[in-house]
Amino acid sequence: MIVNEQVAVDHGLKKDEYAKICELLKRTPNITELGIFSAMWNEHCSYKSSRLHLKKLPTKGKKVIQGPGENAGVIDIEDNDAIVFKIESHNHPSFIEPYQGAATGVGGIMRDVFTMGARPIANLNSIHFGSPQHKKTKNLLRGVVHGIGGYGNCMGVPTIAGQTSFDSSYNGNILVNAMTLGLVKKDKIFYSKAAGLNKPVIYVGSKTGRDGIHGASMASASFDEKIEEKKPTVQVGDPFTEKLLLEACLELMAGDSIIAIQDMGAAGLTSSSIEMASKGNLGIEINLNKVPCREAKMTPYEIMLSESQERMLIVLENGKEEQAKKIFDKWNLDFAVIGKTTKSKKIELYFDEEKVADIPVNTLVENSPMYDRKWKKAKLPKKNKIKKEDIKHLKIIDVLKKILANPNVCSKEWIWQQYDHTVMGDTIQKPGGDAGVVRVHGTDKAIAASVDSSAVYCWAHPLTGGKQVVCESFRNLISVGAKPIAITNCLNFGSPENEENMGEFVECVQGIGEASDYLKFPVVSGNVSFYNQTKEEGIKPTPAIGGVGLIKDYKNMITLDFKEVDNLVLVIGKTEGHIDQSLFARTILDEKNGPPPEVNLFNEKNNGETLLKLIDNNLIKSAHDVSLGGIITAVAKMCIKGKKGININKPKYLINEIEYLFAEDQGRYVIEINKKDFKKVADILNKNAVHFDELGTIIENEVYINDKTKVTIDELSTSNKSWLINYMSK
């Protein structure tokens, strides 16, 4: 096939990018080389629109062992233990083929983690769908949930937490973000940097097929009406083979024969070999005839661009091939020496004794395009004034029931019951709480993890929204008694070529950076997914933040269910009555404008750290952060889970009852304490200048508000639990 500008454009490259390739090579690339460039230079692999801005994120900290740039981030959790974790998107494939798209998303992120030597110990996910009324939503949701479960359950890794939302902006572009945490000994972490000359390059895992060719390019473009034609670009997962690959890799890693290891994810053999060579400042020579292929007559182009799953590339010490092969034979996996490291600093490919590609590694990596895209700054919208007559007729209990049954608040049990969340025998906080918690096997330590996003806030004001998501992650970890350590981010946006979308990206990243810097909650890994749009219609900006924290003694973990009648319930943090962009404003008042709640980083940090102090002093019986739906929604969930009621007396405030109960001001938690501890708790809060309200007392079975309205917990529970089950069974 003759390569020309049109062929390059068909590969998703821009005309000037093609010109640059010809200039760098000082010749026209052949079709295999063009394929390699298109795979490395697409948005998904090169981060060409985002790199400039991602550089500004804080990525260092005392507990950070490895920040962005490796397969995953690594943090120190003491005693020579480390946690490897990352979140990644699989949005485009999941929309085209929900089961396989979601399944291979989970498989891909687990590979990123065990590539570094860590055994995966927990999975999480953040999934976003279109309006429940949209004709595709139900099937997409069902397919994605089955796919996530199908892969994670077979791998035997518990799925411990997640987030699901519905918004019409995802009608044509659902989001599927998968996160994995793995446990590794600090001195047994593996990296992807090749080193040494003439070292064997080994291919292990599944055979290479024609699936997923151009997956990464597909993920770097918008959808149009021809989306069905893209089905062949979706990879097909085989979790059993991945389980074998996991065990085989960990067995090999127990020895000392591996120099570098890299999974074949997006852009398959291309990106894995090039990344290893680039990091080691070396060349790699591969004989493509040696690559185990599933199908006959695969061309070099297809072999290099296949995204077949469950494959790894390893640079081994000389002479260790036999020993390594034995392990992969035991696990019934392919093992092939396909090449070697060279000093050429080039990627050189041979096929049928002919050289089919010869590209300097730096042209693919360092010389890849980087764009300073034009972007538009968002204005902070004007505040709405709530008119008394708009809310006068509202009955709090009716509103509360509506909010509890809202698709974005309701119980997601239908989803997480389909995920094995207890395998490995260390899950001590299951889905449905503020964060999932797993013990570090055989120790007193436990790891808490949560994944959050607030697309509506980010859409209303990206800078504030970006900050808010990080704070919410911080709060969710603190609510279970964990000290927040670091985050991973999955940045889901529309087209970077659109100034408004690019502006949303830039400002969300800025907000994330400011909050993570202030809270000492650095970003250690992440992923950017642009072009989440169909034709001109883009998604709401949806940065998802995966937070990880440490609980030193798992017995001190906190849950959100109310524990005991007569205990006191307090609200930590001040309620100003911010209604704009709250669930109440959007669903009850149908008011979609206005600014999101302000984020005060000082208060976030101070309130959170003070709550941790209270937890350390064993003064907290239950805790829950206040988010969507405000104080009353948080309290209702604590009641439902604890099967207890509460007698609420609104504290004396300038704002009215509705504003107090449904406002979404930030930096707040609901806590339960024993009456006899009140003075101690109040002292600590006062000493740290943390505002708190006395909200009420726990009682049996019912919620009373100011002695006049009441509702039973059963009624609230039904509102909360039935929406999703009814929706999916219709």
Partner: protein, 227 residues
């Protein structure tokens, strides 16, 4: 007491079972599926997971694996063999226990706590248990127990039903059946009651921080019965 846990390539509850058995006093050994010989054991456990991927019927390939011939011989000579979840699926595929396990009625994987009522205590698994009802944990996609009417009659005549899904008071009704199993069957024995297959995972309920502690009661009782 010596136990052996068989590890198939896709087993994923083998470690959990190892932890549980050791916690309650068993000297446990892990046995690889490609081995031919079983070590000397008082109890052999087929753990949960996806043995060989289960792309064919669950457990069907595992039932033909090398180690299984030894397990079958061990069971036929009266040895205690317990299959949990995928282990139960393997047991029905070997024919050591009757029936089959279909896909769950609502075609979805289910992971949650359930209650099961002990149907028969005249066996080494449940003898001397104080409880009538256990709270156990299930996590499966194919746990819908099915058998022919003739088989069912035989099973009932021989009192081979081990546990049935029920409510916390032991009431066995359709509404407490999580997967559509015939007669709410959650576990059954072979005729001689030395082989037990069950869907619930007692190994996931062995301390208060986990889903519950009824698994501890089960294992403590089991090791005492074997002594």
């Amino acid at each position: 007491m010596k136990s052996s846990v068989i590890t198939f390539p896709g087993s994923n509850c083998d470690r959990d079972m190892d932890v549980a058995l050791k916690k309650f006093g068993f000297k446990n050994k892990m046995v690889w599926h490609a081995d031919a010989e079983l070590p000397k054991s008082d109890l052999v456990v087929l753990p949960g997971g996806f043995s060989y991927g289960d792309y064919l019927r669950c457990g069907s390939m595992a039932s033909k694996s090398k180690i299984m011939q030894s397990v079958i011989n061990f069971a036929n000579s009266g040895g205690m063999v317990m299959g949990i979840c995928n282990g139960f699926q393997i047991l029905v595929e070997t024919g050591l226990v009757p029936g089959v396990l279909l896909r769950n009625k609502y075609l979805e994987f289910i992971c949650k706590n359930v209650f099961v009522k002990i149907n028969d205590k005249k066996n080494k698994y449940f003898k001397n248990v104080d409880n009538e009802v256990f709270e156990f944990h299930i996590a499966h996609n194919e746990g819908n127990y099915f058998c022919t009417n003739d088989q069912l009659k035989e099973i009932e005549d021989n009192n081979q039903i081990a546990i049935n899904y029920c409510d916390e008071n032991g009431k066995i009704e359709d509404q407490f059946n999580p997967n559509g199993s015939i007669k709410n069957i959650a576990g059954i024995f072979n005729k001689e009651k030395n082989v037990l297959g069950m869907m619930p995972h007692p190994e996931r309920m062995i301390d208060t921080s986990l889903s519950g502690e009824d698994g501890s009661l089960f294992f403590k009782n089991l090791i005492n019965n074997l002594k």
